[in-house]
Symmetry: D3
């Protein structure tokens, strides 16, 4: 299987795919149609099912696995999948579900081990206990959730993977700049996006909860830290206040959601590492889909820039796919 | 006693005053001096004590009551008090301390009654219980605190007075626009600035606490509401989320400290009433100190505008003082 | 009749409606079609008349009343009316034209009485005469015009209704804050949007006049006040200048059309009340069309926010319609 | 006489000068002092009169001519005049008052002739009559006023000189771009700043009037054009509306005071020529005071930039003075 | 031939036209179509070729000349060309290619003469040699290139025509303001957009080069001036630095591409003249296509404004066409 | 020697110090004084020499070493040095000049070795040769210059030290994100601030050159890279363009001096690492001067924030000094 992200215009597709989202519309001729986003582990693609029946609407729902056949066309520079045939996977057809879900290059277990290791390195007992308690409370979701609905690390375990990349970079920062307090920095990284577990509705077909819409993950987390600190009897410790401030300020800027800017150095560094890891993830994904010597499609989260891929960058498409499927694992 | 706010350049002062703040400096001739802000219930004034001794530094501290004599001069359009003699009040000298402290036109008891009355009008039991619990928890401070360090309602009981003015206006809004939910609006008003009880250090010589600097009154209050709701066993009710959102959004705008804009109509109206009451308070105080036909000094909290006082506005200085000391009480 | 604003997707419509606007287009198959906006007193809806004939173009013009039959579909979250049959109302068919026009909850007469009453309360003779003269000059249009083309109070007598709501709130402001000059405030409210009578083309099918485009209602009104003051021989009075300033500054901000910010307190309060009444009107209309527990469609005039309707808000659709048709009248 | 603008640090001054402004202050030793701005036709300079007596305050008022002696010092890069002796000019001392007032390089008569000539070139009778009427109404002030309080062309006849420079450039624009309507452009230039005659208090010791503060010269002029057009019976002509719009929009941008941007090409060109002439005037004056190879003092009206004077620019100080006093006259 | 820019909705076209651009798309019925922009010397128009064949894709490429027949329709206020028949021009069909290309009103030769003349007027030998060398290096392209991809002067020789209009206006500026250094100003004008010869891909079907995308014409030109100055052995002269600064700053503002604002007066004037000539060109073209008494389509480069064409402006369509084809030549 | 940065208010100083800058002023009593900034390797302090003689002005010039005695006072929260005695160091007095100059924690030699090592790791021959050539051309200055006049790394070898810290972090980035091109990233880091060698006047008493003021280090470097590439015969290689773009875009944002934002991933990462290293340097220096439990003075380069130093941060002043003098060296 080639992977839905790697087909080019004019190529023929005949693959098992997972339905990521479905919307019903009415065409200008008055007939209903379905806009279906189909995905496998390499990415997703939009398709239209014209003249859909009520049977179709009942079958093709979020999470269903289908066998789809058709051709790749393009519209405004994006691939579309022109479906000729589509049907539900039948029970006797055996597929590996992991092939249909985008996931972090590291498994939930590997990420869990890494997190545990950094937790051990936190020496300050208040920071240690608080961080440990919160990780325990949200253990399962923490290692499953994506880091965002659609922007960066939007894949299985994306949140924990994002946290682990940041922890590794933080370790280097601490090594180079010995006056940085590693306890605060590691704990801040571990907790900074934990509010997303309540802001987002779940692991698949992710949307915003009412709390997500009305409060946002930052305010949710301020409240969570306060609650845990009270449960542990450490609510009056300065460390708790500092961690709450790190969460509050980690978007740096009022317009990006932080009512206070970072007011001590570890809070500022948390913001920089968060921003750097998110941007490198976004840029790398965009460049993988771009041919050397060309500009990528516009990237909303990077101020709508198109990024250039140098002509002397990796040349072989095959390499790119290998990389996205395996190489990242070798980094450790 | 004329009131320190009403002296004009060239007039002679000989009054008991309260020290609001003291800063030590070194003059260009190398000698120390004290910058002392002196206040009575009508306002405050800056003075310099040149060539101050270590004795002076020990005596003239925040909160001390002094007998000061000297002349009024002006500097950049603001009055200054050129001290000729200053000494501590002696024990046998009897003064009424209420004459030295700016206070709301209504007493703490009167404000308490008004608040209790509005609390009764809240019908929704979740909103009622939560608001009542929080008012009870902070009862004394709530009726003593100023509403801000230096901007609006910065006087004794300023916070509760600001809340009561808003409640009265809210009652009219509800009467004119029957689709507005009065339970949410009244509760939002009662709670919106309660976080200031932890953001500010106290009733006099008010400054920001560490929690105030690192979290701010909005985030503090999100956490407080969450805590009370859990104690009352109503943490999963939508009403709690809505009240948290009202607090979160009541500054309207990220740059003014609200990470989310108001997302339901009562939240928006809370913001408008808060803004209106603060601005009318600020403008009224500035105009009281301005002569008809002239522009006021620049008002920082009103985008640095100078406001004009029409020539046909109240003419008699005496009236103005009467008004500021008594008339507001008649409004009820 | 149910009211065009209250149909849901899939429902069938067979009603008399008024044509609010018509635009001709050419479909991708090269055939002409008409985009017709149809209205009744509850709101309006877009429809397409595919393959329109020149006969259709002659019949279906702005202001025509038609009998239309078809189904409700949705496109991007907005209702559309898929017309199956449409024809002009025939002469013998009797309908109540008031059912097809959105109007203020109070009649023009009731609004006129209210305005007269407030006019009586203005004590300052210069302000009184000037305001009275301008109201007299524009009497009929003032009580018929909408307050805006499409944003707030865009219905028959919308302008006068908006003014009357503001006057009622102003009365409360004056009662609570006795230093506010009610003469200036009432007159400012009465005149603030009068320039719209020359900025907008008329009561129905409202568009901008050339003077509206090139000068705007604020500058038009500066000139009108000057003219009336000269006619009354009071052009050199400070009151005239103050009223001109109130008009000039009532949008608060250069980007919103006011070259000067409010420079005395009544001008500032005029702005706040104008803003509050417009926003409550906009929010209330959006929420009426939203189900409890859901977010409204995006509201352009509220920074493109979607507003939430709490689940414990009014539950019955019937109630909502009752309210929009009748209840507001009871407010007095 | 060298001219007060051309002295350097350390040089000795002994000249008759005119008092441009006086402010009273109190020094840190408690003694009064006067800050006096002294001027002659080449510019002005700040001086301090320490330990001033009440006699001094009575003598040294705005408009008085004094004989002052002292040295030039510098403070933060600006020259100051350290007065040693100062006294009022005595009656028998004869000086030429024109030497003490900054004035345009062209006389009021020469400017009047130029304006008359351009008025003749306006062919459209509505535009001609309206412009002629307004020039007649304000004839004397128009040829005497400065163009601004302190920014550009702040000298005698500065307004008319600014208008004439713009008219000459406009003539070239019309010659190069024949589709530009010269009637509108010339009339727009003649009227664009006429509102300043009511915005500013007068020719010397210029400050803002109440109308200037509350309405500004743009709104004042909208009203004036409307009044004149009604007097001439041409109030309903499109030309009047267009001229009002040109005045309204000539600052281009809401933040700079124009509620509407220019909406036809002559309005846009009016803005560009106004801006260009003001900037060249500001820059030329700043550069005259700067030595080749150095940067000027910061120029507030040019976004606080310091401008560089190239080393190969005019080298001789004498030349510069000649230029400022005479050469500009040769331009015609 | 009427000129493609002057057809109205409903009119029939049967003309030879040049293909300016072609994009392939897939219609909602799954069939391919071509979006072809066709031009002649009066302007361009969009057309759709539905159900295009691979033969069509091979024939209808950028630069091809075709004979097209069909009708004018409108979409969102813009004309579209509904093609009925289209074929390549046959060899025996003789047309004048100049009729199909938009060009400056002056020929390349006439522009070259004008440039040479201004070059002679530059007295400073460093500025003269540097400007002459750069003009020589890029001679042919300089007189052929458009000034922009789509904004202003986007026609054959548009760059040189823009430069010549600016030079003529500059001559007037120097005449009116004798302290302006004409050597710097003329050289700055001649060089200011020369970097576009490397930023843009060529004379027809113009797009951005990689250097254009990554560096932009301003930075490209800094490097070019440095290179030429080193070749001429004058790299250490202040004049070189000043010319580099003029290029660097001629967009005035960081957001518009200039990292430094103009820091001497000739740099500022260069910016103003550049801006003025571009805007007059843009406005004139928009107004030519607008009927008197109407507003033009929105102009992106003028902050999206619609400009008004006064009712008393040129009335005859014929005149407008004459003007655009011939009259501009008469300006010299 | 304690180090001038570590004295507290009231302490007595008697040390050899280096004059960093001198400005002459005139006191309000008319007498001249000198404002002298004195430094040693720990920092600098402002002092006033009242009633200075012409002898003083001749002796106390930038770069002179003096023996100064006096007391530490404070003004607006900053230390000042109240000089009682000051004289030039005499020839026979032996001091270690390194004690008077702030320097990077690594020697120029150590930095050179590190740079050489990274240069070896660049594999792409075009990038290698270009970077090597530019480093060779500026070898000495590159290892001596500060990184900025007053913001970050403003000490001896500050530029090279800043580059080396960034290179070490870049190595980690490349290790964690294998798709990042290390050749581009290392070369971009090595060259990004090299233009400062021409923007700044020198190693001590650093100010801006004319090229610095008119072009800035970014544009200077674009030209330098172009020149070197032409000398090496590689001017047409894409790598050169990419490196020029990295320099051009490394401030990210037009307002911060980059006319283009980063348009490929290594350019973006260069910006992030530059920003992170500068900020950590700035924050660390500010926190070293702040006591645990207090806020630092406002930091202009961090949006004027005051940073908090947690109470549980390093407690011993001695430790801090040790750290600033030695520990950083241990990091490698």
């Amino acid at each position: 299987m080639k992977g839905i992200a790697y087909y080019k215009e004019g190529e023929h597709v005949h693959d098992f795919l997972l339905i990521k989202s479905v919307t019903r519309g009415t065409a200008s001729n008055g007939k209903p149609f379905l806009t279906i986003i189909l995905q496998d582990k390499t990415g997703d693609i939009e398709s239209k099912l014209w003249g859909s029946t009520s049977e179709d609407e009942k079958n093709f729902v979020i999470g269903a696995i289908v066998l789809a056949e058709g051709d790749i066309t393009t519209f405004r520079g994006r691939n579309q999948f022109k479906i000729k045939n589509i049907r539900l996977k039948e029970d006797q057809e055996v597929i590996n579900k992991a092939d249909l879900v985008m996931a972090a290059p590291l498994s939930a277990n590997a990420l869990d081990e890494k997190v545990t290791q950094y937790l051990f390195e936190i020496k300050n007992p208040v920071i240690q206990r608080l961080t440990r308690a919160l990780l325990k409370k949200h253990h399962q979701a923490f290692f499953e959730y994506p880091a965002a609905v659609s922007i960066h690390h939007n894949f299985l375990s994306g949140l924990a993977y994002h946290v682990c990349c940041m922890l590794d970079m933080a370790k280097e920062v601490v090594r180079h700049y010995p006056e940085v307090n590693s306890d605060l920095l590691y704990a801040g990284i571990l907790l900074h996006d934990m509010g997303k577990l309540k802001e987002l509705s779940g692991v698949t077909a992710t949307s915003y909860t009412l709390a997500g819409n009305l409060l946002g993950h930052i305010s949710i987390m301020i409240d969570e830290i306060g609650e845990s600190a009270r449960e542990l009897g450490i609510a009056d410790r300065e460390e708790v206040l500092l961690l709450q401030h790190m969460i509050l300020s980690h978007h740096e800027n009022p317009e990006w959601g932080s009512p206070k800017p970072p007011l001590f150095k570890e809070a500022e560094i948390l913001h920089i590492l968060d921003d750097m890891d998110a941007k490198i993830n976004i840029m790398t994904r965009a460049i993988r889909k771009t041919r050397p010597g060309e500009f990528s499609e516009r990237i909303f989260a990077m101020d709508n820039r198109s990024l250039y891929r140098p002509t002397f960058d990796l040349q072989e498409e095959q390499e790119i796919q290998d990389l996205s499927q395996g190489t990242e694992k070798k980094q450790n």
